[in-house]
Symmetry: C2
Subunit: 376 residues, 2 copies
């Protein structure tokens, strides 16, 4: 354990890196996948079960938590870690992305974003300074600076104006965050799909100085090909010695491609959300448990998986409880999906450490191409 | 472990008894509370978590399981225990009670009950013989004979005619069940609130001969006072050396009163169902976690409770996740409620064993009269 926030790269393979982020709340092995605990819970999971999948860090959502139960309240109750019984590191987003998606309910100015709560219609004014304050009250270990996620598609002019605003907000976030040993502040690169603009954003952020850097404005509808195009250069524009975080990504093959391009951290609702709709994420690809072909299938979801779902239940059971609308369907599939994501990250870390990432990635795609094995 | 089904009473206190039912799947300490696993899952709980609360046996519902996923299918998949990953004993009801409550969808004859599925409208004909077959296919350890649960209120004439039908069905159930070592068949006493009719039913059942006996036709709207009036004589009309089961009961004070009157087994959806609606069952009585008085309350639900919900979470958290509609609210409150029910049963067993049941019951009511302690 350390009382400082620091990042050490242990090995590289091409542009991919594996290492460890030390925080006073525990270590984060990178590349890392952060399960999303929006409203102070990873949906359908006990936190000790999340931990048992291999997760080192969770993500919490500032927007949701500021509205309910409220950051002041969480602070008075001892902080988010105690509140939700997760004692490892927590990263919180800035609230910006989610506020921006309230199309009819928000107004953007230089100062920040005025918006109406989706819960009770109350009006709030989220600014870089207020976002820093909320994340401090929550007790977040990794704080994200407040930015505007540039929509896609966009014109070069709009992208520039949005990036410039985000860079001014990045400076205000940095100033408001101040000096908080043991806690980290991450900057967020913008610039849409424009290489020079990404470089300009990276330079501005680096000059301000952050503990880590996110590649922002991706996974917003541009598709994997265009995202990978940006990732071919964007991570390398950021400091080599700091963690790089790709927000809101993604599907397993998105993660694999992004790791190859030098990304260290990920978060996504996909494994938990898709679990609740009956979709299993596996080495073989996504499997829809609603499909009646599973009705009489006594095999586990994935016979090579060691999670409690695969060790103890048949596909027939998973199909049944999903069809019957039983909560255990969400519990088991979320558990499996989060377990699969952590296994994937662990295998990626091992592949990088042993300089076998290319082989690993080629096998990864080969297994998925073969797909799910039909019952005999 | 034994390969036989047997019941031994270890101690009595007044009319109350404590003992152990041995089954090939494990022992059941009595008085016992059986959590309800209607559709092959105790809602919002992993089976190992149910076990950890102290539950020795689960109840499964024949009506639900015959319709979905189907008894033949469960049988082909290795039986209900394997299917739902519960390896202790399972008791199944006969399906009769639930079919009877489909008011517009069923037709009662001497042969059995014809009904329409609430899931797909398909027509089924449930008879004593078919109920025995379904429960055998499921692999149920304790099979309930098929009966008509006499509605309340009723006339003496209707009650008699209903009881007579149930006794003919009890004989047909016995004949159809046959000889299955290690598995038990329970008969169900009817006779509504008429003492002589209850005696007649008990005599008929005893003459047929069962491994245990349920007091049926109670907890159907007659209220606690009238239920206790019947329990003042009905259990004693049944064989002393066999387990006595009060179906569908109940609230903690119902259970306590019924144990005092000689009941050994209970099942009820209350702890799980009320947990899903935000209601906590505690020593102090029921506590509604939806109430905003819990919003800033950092105390556990019950500071004397050792369940994971009370050890790790505040009332403020339970209030928050319930308000936010998070699945973990159902998970935590169901876990606590089932834990509380098992603690109650354990304390009742200990009180009977040490001949201190009256004192225990008087303390039980005293603590509930004081109620939940308001925060300072």
């Amino acid at each position: 354990m350390t009382n400082r926030f620091q990042f050490n790269i242990n090995a590289t393979d091409g542009r991919a890196r594996t290492g460890v982020i030390n925080t006073p709340k525990g270590d984060i092995r990178t590349p890392a996948f952060m399960p999303v605990g929006t409203a102070a819970t990873v949906k359908a999971m006990m936190p000790e079960s999340v931990r048992s999948t291999g997760a080192d860090i969770l993500l919490g959502n500032t927007y949701h938590l500021m509205l309910r139960p409220g950051a002041e309240r969480v602070h008075k109750l001892g902080g988010l870690h105690k509140f939700m019984n997760w004692h490892g590191p927590i990263l919180t987003d800035s609230g910006g992305y989610q506020v921006m998606s309230l199309t009819d309910l928000r107004k953007l100015t230089e100062e920040g974003v005025k918006f109406k709560s989706h819960i009770d219609g109350s009006v709030h004014n989220l600014t870089p300074e207020y976002s820093m304050e909320i994340q401090r009250l929550l007790g977040s270990d990794i704080v994200m600076s407040f930015d505007e996620c540039t929509p896609f598609p966009t014109t070069q002019e709009q992208a520039k104006s949005s990036m410039d605003l985000s860079m001014r907000w990045a400076q205000r976030s940095r100033d408001a965050f101040g000096d908080r040993p043991g806690y980290a502040l991450f900057g967020i690169q913008q610039g849409s799909t424009f290489k020079d603009m990404r470089a300009e954003s990276a330079e501005k952020l680096t000059n301000i100085g952050f503990d880590g850097y996110a590649v922002g404005g991706l996974a917003v509808g541009e598709g994997q090909e265009l995202m990978f195009n940006v990732l071919d250069y964007a991570p390398n524009q950021l400091p080599q010695d700091k963690p790089r975080y790709l927000m809101g990504v993604g599907k397993p093959d998105d993660i694999v491609g992004a790791v190859q391009r030098g990304i260290d951290m990920f978060d996504c609702v996909l494994p938990s959300r898709s679990g609740r709709t009956g979709q299993a994420q596996t080495r073989m690809g996504a499997i829809n448990m609603r499909n009646s072909r599973h009705r009489d299938d006594n095999r586990p979801l994935d016979e090579n998986c060691e999670c409690p779902c695969c060790k103890n239940y048949s596909r027939a059971y998973l199909h049944h409880v999903h069809k019957a609308g039983e909560i255990i369907s969400s519990m088991l599939l979320t558990w499996h999906n989060l377990h699969y994501y952590q296994i994937l990250m662990s295998e990626l870390r091992d592949a990088i450490a042993s300089n076998k990432l290319d082989k690993y990635v080629s096998d990864f795609h080969e297994i998925r191409k073969r797909g799910d094995i039909e019952p005999l």
